[in-house]
Every structure is written in structure tokens, then in C-alpha cells.
Point group: C5
Chain length 266, copies 5
């Protein structure tokens, strides 16, 4: 299986450096510790640890939520859990190769983005009966957005065509939460607290998520030098995920906490 | 124990590459990262992470379920837990050898499939008294299906004979849930929600599980080139398990959630 | 500390192969994956994973049990937890050396067997006041059985003498649960469900545990070739532990579940 | 990727020694075990283990707290959890390089210090309605303190200017909790127990936190030999964190416990 | 950092053997498995696993305890958790160097012994109001005992002087629980169950803890050959900790269980 000792050594070095990357990111290639001005590295550290803390927070806090509100907070914890695992891997790859393969972000998104969209359905379901169609339309828009985006990156589709189709999926989601049935249920049946959370969440989906197609355009359509912009792109993605994953989850936690107290008098 | 340094190195390389495979799958044999168009590798990543998230979800959510419904949801979590561990191992072997040894899928099945069949019994038991015979008949059919299937693969029995005996086990299970005592109890005593879940679950057992004997036929009876079809077979198996393990568990979670709210008014 | 590179390499190889054995058991000595007909290896895999799943099951389910029944189910989870850890080690040693050193089974037994005996006391205590003497007599018999058995294996006592003394400990336990105070309390004060569990548990202690002295006799007294029978002995031990540890725990779980529902109306 | 075997070896050695540092700190550079008079090493061991124990304690205890008090105790556990992870890394770096890179303490602080400040808001929110402005003013002061402090260390700002701006953030926090709205809410609406906790917490923020700017001054402004003082500085920081993180958390746990008992009669 | 390959190899070997010691303790220096008559090694295995099982038991069981009794049982779990981690490290060092450096036992003691003393305060607080002075006097005596003991070992104080001062701390604790305020509160206000537990706990502090100064005298004052007695001393310490940590915790668990049932009728 391993033809030459050299190949083996190279393989082992690659494996070891990847496995140990959470640690070795401390040591730059010249063996010195993480520099205080390596902002990308620090942002990877920060988001990884913040995701771990958020995950524990959401799971622990879910235990005091009433009924279906608990499910919403557990889902917030699943988003940060899956993201935390992928961020540890991405930090590894970033250290070993100097760039983050977008494939990891896609595997993360294929799990976390549907969970985030499901939250719109879950918080409405916690207070009223919501038709299943709302859930499935949000899912279809989300999956279209992800699958066409990925198809463009993977070269299975023309990148411009893929980009447009992916954007249509995103626009469909935005339509649903701003003017579709989900929006109407929120406006007519939700408590003021849930309505407020619903509004903030759809702002995040609109403006917070805009960071990802912008990155896609910069990386694939405009034709920038990807090496040069990799650092700043990673920094922006990492900080965007603080809002889009942790902040999004905290909004749900806050409304779940408020509604639980209102319904149980505790 | 280790006669020569070469043997030792080979052994260590094999061990290391296997242990580190969850990481090294990022690196193809030529040292580049997971390609965006390696759909089999991505499907292994996706199912592994989705199983981890499902396991956490089922265990966290089980805590808010009433009485025996909790047991059903815990059992769903056990299925995804055991599958998650085996999928991490299978991804390892897939990377190290380029094919997934079916022995891992069998060890997974020998634990998860009886758990899945037990769910039919558990959800009926949560609402009414169910004779133990229903449980044991489902178990016997399941174990026959698995043991004969394995005996065929392991060469302990003629593959065609083993296939037929295994199919009989499966058909017996299908009979029990469509026309046997389990089916009758569901039809006569279950709430509409439980009946609906029962019906969806037996459709999964019929059509979702059909993927496994089809794989068996392609691999052992028809005589296809196994190397050529290994990739597509793994892709199909991985996606099938999303339905057969995670989807199956979500049906149980949904009915447990609905029935818990109905019975406790929460 | 390490005089020569060779000694070091040998040491490291031993350590590495042991540590990595859960993985490397996949690879036989010639570097191929676990063969589908290596039933001993498959049984080690199966029991390890089944113990992990059982442990999670007992701990999760304990949370819905009332009062002292919870303690019984937690104790079942401790038995499978301790056994799971030791089985992972034993699988390691089995791979590295081709035989399972009985010392591991003894360390496992010295913790799990008293826990199993304590279950007789715990399930009776959950329904009535039980004199502490019952607990201590069961412990004394258990510890005598284990200590003399171990003394024989370790060469601290003549094997035949040790065997007889160890058997006396076992017979004393069997006497206590069939005709002693524990048995009388069960017959006079326990509910039908507890009585039934008590009876099944003592059958396991009688017939399920008989597998261990039979192994002792075959290995130490009869003088069989230990290498030849190691494989079949391990296979028998592994399958026996499915009944003696997981099955035993499931009986306690079932009665705890039934009694909890009876007492709380849930 | 790895041009020479020497570079590879050096890299691997660095990685290995870092990864294994929790263990290897036992062995000084000459291969002997941790000396009984290496107080810095012992303090790293002690604080790491004490943080682990505190984290488990806060999470377990949070489960018996009523309503919002639970959130306060969970937040205490998050502080010690994040600190524990970073302390394990810092111990590693301390062993590998003989000094603790302040960058780790900053990543720790950017997560834990806002959490500590949020506790002032959380304990007041547990008993009365608190304007969101209190929360945001505490956050702004905290983040100014951290960001300017870091900018000075990283050379992004003149160290003296950065120091002054950072101090202003700290003074603003102290003003808020001693004379601002938070202080007034505590004085007018809090129970005696909460008032007492509030007072002790602000003393810790004033005097306990003073240790960090003192270290900053010694390290960056006064111009001491950093190598000579690194040991004593680490010892002081480690012991300060026992008070500032574990002690701070215990105050919140104590008041949460008292108020829970008062409100539930348990 | 690593001047020569030899130094690197030695370092790595030391690190690896330490990290892997939980496993490698199976293999004696000549590469054979743990011998059945190596009682010290077996006692290290046994106490490590027993501490893990105890920790899980105390945490799981704490969840069914009422109010402050839960805190007492959680504290028992913290004692065994911290001890378990240190025992895994000590087993490592014992394997790598053939002796257990007392520094580990001291780091363990500095966390676990105050927790054990706090239990006297916690079980009294669970049933009545106890002045804070009781807590602080127990802490002061405990810390004096530990700090002076350590100062003697570390050569910071004359060993005889340190021994006497340490003994005074211990005697002060014993006075407090036999004749001081803690004792009086127990005698006048505690239920019979708590009084009985209190009495057993102080017997453990008196006689069970006597093992540690005896070891100190043998090792430092009498002048025995430390190498010769290291084995027996470790065996005695390991078995003593079964009583002083696990047994002590079980007494608290038993009284917490009894009092919880008495107060809640469950």
C-alpha cells in the first residue's frame, strides 16, 4: 500500500499535521508561537471556542424551556455543534495548506442551513398550528440554494448559471419569510416577542447571509486572485458566523426564555 | 513480536492511516484536499455528521417526552449513535483501502436493525398493552434476515440459499407489520397519529430497506465487477441510511412529541 | 531508560499496536481487513458496541424511573460501562497477542460482579425495607468467589483448592437467592413483577455464570491446550456477557419501568 | 510540503511536545518528573483541574436552580469551561517554550470577560426587569477594555495610548456597577442576598482584575526583563484566576441557591 | 529546541510511554502482558475504574436528590472525578518510572481534601442553618494540613517542623468534628440518619486518613529505603482511597437518599 518510505513519511506528516492542527496552529512554520497580530488565526480560535461554549449553553438552557420551545433551543445547539466540529477541521486545513477548502463549509451548510431555516417553522409551531407546507417550502428553497451553489463550485454546472439558480433559492426563502405564509402566520398569530424574533431572524437571513454569495462572486465570478483574498475572506466568514449561527441562536434562546416564563409563570 | 523494521513500519502506517482516516480523508493519495466533486467522500462526511447531530437531538428531545414515548426516542438515538460510530470506522476503511468491507455494515445492522424493529413494538406499547409475542416474532424475523445474509457473505452458506432464507426473514417482518398482529393492534387501538407513524415506518421497512438486498444481488449474485460499483453502492447506501435511520427516527420523534403534548396538555 | 533504539522501537510498536487495537483489529497481521468469517473478532466488535449502546440506554432511561428504581437502572449502566471499557482493552490485547489475558476479565469482574449481586438487594429495597445483612452476605459470597478464583489463577493458591473455595462462594450466593433471606423477602413482599424479575435474575446467576467456572476448569484443571481453545473460549465468554450483563440489566430495566408506571400512574 | 526530513522532524517534535504537554509537563527537560518545588508548574496543574471540577459543579448544580437563576449558573460554568480549555493549551505552550504567550490569555478573555460582565445583568434580571441598556453599556466597556489592550500588545496601537484607552473601558465598567444604573437597580430592587453578591462581584472586578493591568505595565511599559518575571507573573495570573473565575462563579452559585430556595420553598 | 536526534527520540519515548501508560501498563518492561500476580498494577487498574464508575454513579444519582442534598452528592462526584484523572496520571508515572511522585497525590489532595471537609458542612446545611465559621474553620485546618505537609516534602521547611505543623492542622479538624461547633450542631439538630453519617465520616477522617501521615513518616522521617517500600506504599494508598474517597462518598449518597425520601415521600 505504501510503496516507498518517502511516500509514507510524507503521508504521515500530512496526516499528523492535520490531526494536530488545533495545536500546531500555535506554531507558525518557523516554529514560533501564534503571533499576536495573526488576526485570521485568532479569529479561527475565537469562533471555535465560542461555538463550543454556545453549544453547551444552548443544550443546558434547553432543559428549562417549556414544550416545543425546548426543541427550538436544541436545534440552535445542533447548529453550533455541527459548526464547531467543522471549524476545528477547517482550522486544521487552514494551517496545513494556508487556505480553507470551501468543501468543508458546504458540508457544514448542508446540515446547518436547513436547521436554521427550520427554526422559523419551529418558533411559529411553538405557539400555533403551522401547515407543513411552510416547512417544506423553506426546505426546498434552502436545498436549491445549497445544491446549485455546490454544483457551481464542483464544476458540475456553469458557475454563472449555478449562481443564478442558487440566488433564486435564496430569494424564494426571503420571499417566504417576508411576504409568504410564514410571514403572515407570524404577523397574525404570534405574540409580540415571537414577532420581534421572527423579524430579526429574517434580517439575519437577508443581510447576514449576503456574505456568502459575495464571497462566491469574489472567488469564482470576478476572478480575483484567490490566494491573496483567502485570508480576508476567512476572517469575514468567521466573524459572519458569529452573527449567523451564534447570534441567530441567541435570538431564539431569548424568545424561548421569555415565552416559557410567560406560559409557566416561572 | 515484530520481526523486521519493514513489517513494523507497514503495520504502523496501516494503523496510523486507519486511526487518522477521519482526518486524512481530506487528503487524497496525492496529498491534496478532498475534491469538491468527490461525491462519495462528501456523502461519508455528511452522513457521519448528520448521525452525530441526530443522536444528540434524539437524546436531548427524549427528556421532554412522557413515559414510554421517551423510550422510543432514546431507541432512535441508539440507532444513530451506533451507526455514527460505525460510519466513522467505515470512512476510515474506505479511505485506506478504497472499498467498504461489508462486515462493518453487518456489525452495525446486527445492533441497529433489531432496534428499528423494536420501535414498532415500543410505539404500540406506549399507548396500549401489546403481547410479548409481537416483539419476539419481529425479532426472530429480523435475526433470520441478518444471520442468513451474513452467512452468505461469509461463505458459511451457498449465497443463493442464504439470500432466499434472508429474504424470507424480511418478508416475514413485512407480513407482521402489514397483516399480522402488530398491524391489527395499530389499526384497532392506536391513535390516528400513531397509526400514521406506523404506516410510514412500515413503508420505510419495505421500500427503504430494499436497497440492501439489491446491493447484495449486485455484489454477489449478478457477478458485476465489485470495484467498479463500490463507489456508487456506497453513495446509495449512505443516502439510504439518511432515510432508514435518521428519517425513521424523526417519524418516531414527531409522533412521540405529538402524543406527549396530547397526554400532558403541554 | 531506553538503552537501545531497537528496544525503544519494540516498546513503541507494542504500545502503539495496543492503543490502536480498536482500529487495527480491522487489519489482520497480513494487512487485510477483518475477514467476514473471523467470528471471534466480530463478537468482540459486537459486544463492545452493544455494551456502549446499553450503557447509554440505561443512563438515559434511568432518568424517568421513580425513586429507588432509578438507582437499580443506574447500577445496570455502571455494569455495562465498566465492561465496555474493559472490552475495548481486551480487544486490544487479543489483537496484539492473540489471546485474552484473564487478568482483565478479573479486574472487570471485581467491579461488575458485586454490582450485579447488589441489584438483588436494590430491587428488593425499592419496594420494601431489606435488612443490611442481605446485602453484606451477598457481597461476602461474591468477593470470596472472586478472590479465591483470582488467587488460583495468580498462583497464590493451589488451583484445585482455589477452585473449590471459589465454588463455595458461588454456591453460597445461589443459596441466598434461592433459599435464603433475600429469596424469602422476594416471595413474601415483592410485587408479581419484582418476583418474576428476581427469579429470572437468579437463573442467570446460576446458569449464565456457570460459563466462567467451566472456562476455568478447561483452562487450568483439565489441561487442554490453551492456545487451541482460546478462540472458542473468547467467543463463548463474549456471548455469555450479552446475557449476563446486558440481558441482566434489561430485566431490571423492564421491572423498574413497570413498577414506576404502577406507582406514578404514568 | 515538507522539504527536508530535518524540518519534518522538528515540526513533528514541536507538534508532539505541544499535544502531549499535559502529560510531558511531568517530565522536565532532563527527563525527570515534575519537581515538588516547581510552583508554577504545580499552579498550572492545580488551576486546570480546579477549572474542570468547577465546570462540572456549575453545570450539575444549575439543574436545581429556578428559572433565570439557572442561566446565571450555566454562564459561570461556561466561564470555567472556556478557561479550562485555554489553560490546558497554555500549560502546553509553557512547557514547550518556557513562557505563556499572552495571545492565549486574550482569546480566553474575549470570551470569558464579557460572560463575567453579563453576570451582573443576569443576576439582576433574575429578580426584576432590567433595561437592555445596562447590558449593552457593560458590554461596550468590556469590549473597549479588551480590544484596546490587545491592540497595544499586537503593536496595532502605541502601547501607552492603548493602555490608557483600555483603562478607560475598565473604569467605565467600574463606574456602571458602583454608581451607574446597574448599581441603582441593585440597591433599590434587589433582595439582600442579591445585593450582597452584587457588592462582592464588583469588588472582584475592581481589585481582582487589577492584576491584569499590573501585569501589562510590568511587561510592556516599565520595561522589565520579561523572561525573568514570566514565572512569577504566570503564578500570579493563575492564582488570580482562582478568585476571578472560580470564586466569582461560586458567589453567583451561592446567591442562586439561596434565592431558588426562597422562591420555591425547597 | 531539539539539539540532537537522540535527545528527540528520548523525549518522544518518554512522552509516548507516559501518554500511553494506561495501555502500556499492560505490558511489563519485557513486553509481556500484566502478570496476574502484579498486585500493585492491578490495584491501580482497579481504583482507576472504580473511581470512574463512582463518579458516574454520584452524578447520575444526584439528579434524584432533593434541594441541598443534591449538592452534597455532586461534591462526592467531584472528589472521585478529580481523583480519577490524577490516578490515570499516577498510573502513567508509575509505569514509566517505577514510582509514584507524591507531587501528584498533593495536587489531588489540594482539591479533593477541602471538598471532603466541605461535606461535613454541606450535610449539616442540608437540614439546618449552619454558621459560615464552621465552614471556614474546617477549611483553615485542612489547608494548614496540606500546605505544611507539602512544604516539608518540597524542602521549603524542615521536614520534622512541617510534619508537626501539618499534624496540628489535622488534629484541629478532628477536634472540630468531634468536639467543636460542627459536632454540636450535628448532635443537637441533625436527624438520626445525618448523625450516623456524620459519625462514620469523622471516623474515616481520623482512621482512614491516618494512612497518609504514616506514609509520610515512613518515607521522610524514619529513613526507610523508599524504593523498597514504594510498591507496598502505593498498594496501601490505593486501597485507602477506596475507603476515603469512594466509601466516604457512598455514606453521603446513602444519607442523601434516605433524607430525600423522608422529605419528599418518594
Amino acid at each position: 500500500m505504501y510503496r516507498s518510505p518517502t511516500a509514507l513519511k510524507t503521508k504521515l506528516a500530512l496526516i499528523a499535521s492535520t490531526l494536530l492542527a488545533p495545536v500546531s496552529s500555535v506554531f507558525a512554520s518557523d516554529g514560533v508561537v501564534l503571533k499576536s497580530n495573526d488576526l485570521v488565526g485568532i479569529s479561527f480560535w475565537f469562533i471555535s471556542m465560542a461555538l463550543v461554549a454556545s453549544t453547551v449553553f444552548f443544550f443546558m438552557e434547553s432543559l428549562r424551556m417549556a414544550g416545543k420551545w425546548r426543541t427550538s433551543v436544541v436545534a440552535s445547539g445542533l447548529v453550533t455543534l455541527v459548526a464547531a466540529v467543522h471549524y476545528f477541521y477547517m482550522r486544521d486545513v487552514w494551517v496545513a495548506t494556508g487556505s480553507t477548502p470551501t468543501v468543508y463549509r458546504y458540508i457544514d451548510w448542508i446540515i446547518t442551513v436547513p436547521l436554521l431555516m427550520a427554526e422559523f417553522y419551529l418558533i411559529l409551531s411553538a405557539i400555533t398550528k403551522v401547515p407543513g407546507g411552510v416547512f417544506w417550502r423553506l426546505m426546498i428553497g434552502t436545498i436549491a440554494m445549497l445544491v446549485f451553489g455546490f454544483a457551481g463550485e464542483a464544476g458540475l454546472l456553469n458557475v454563472t448559471v449555478a449562481f443564478i439558480l442558487s440566488m433564486l433559492g435564496w430569494i424564494y426563502i426571503i420571499y417566504e419569510v417576508f411576504a409568504g405564509e410564514a410571514s403572515k402566520i407570524s404577523a397574525s398569530k404570534a405574540t409580540p416577542g415571537v414577532q420581534s424574533a421572527f423579524k430579526t431572524m429574517r434580517l439575519i437571513v437577508t443581510f447576514g447571509w449576503a456574505i456568502y454569495p459575495i464571497g462566491y462572486v469574489l472567488g469564482y465570478l470576478v476572478g480575483n486572485d484567490p490566494t491573496a483574498s483567502a485570508n480576508s475572506l476567512n476572517l469575514i466568514y468567521n466573524l459572519a458566523d458569529v452573527v449567523n449561527k451564534i447570534g441567530f441562536g441567541l435570538i431564539i434562546w431569548a424568545v424561548a426564555s421569555r415565552e416559557t416564563e410567560a406560559s409557566t409563570g416561572k
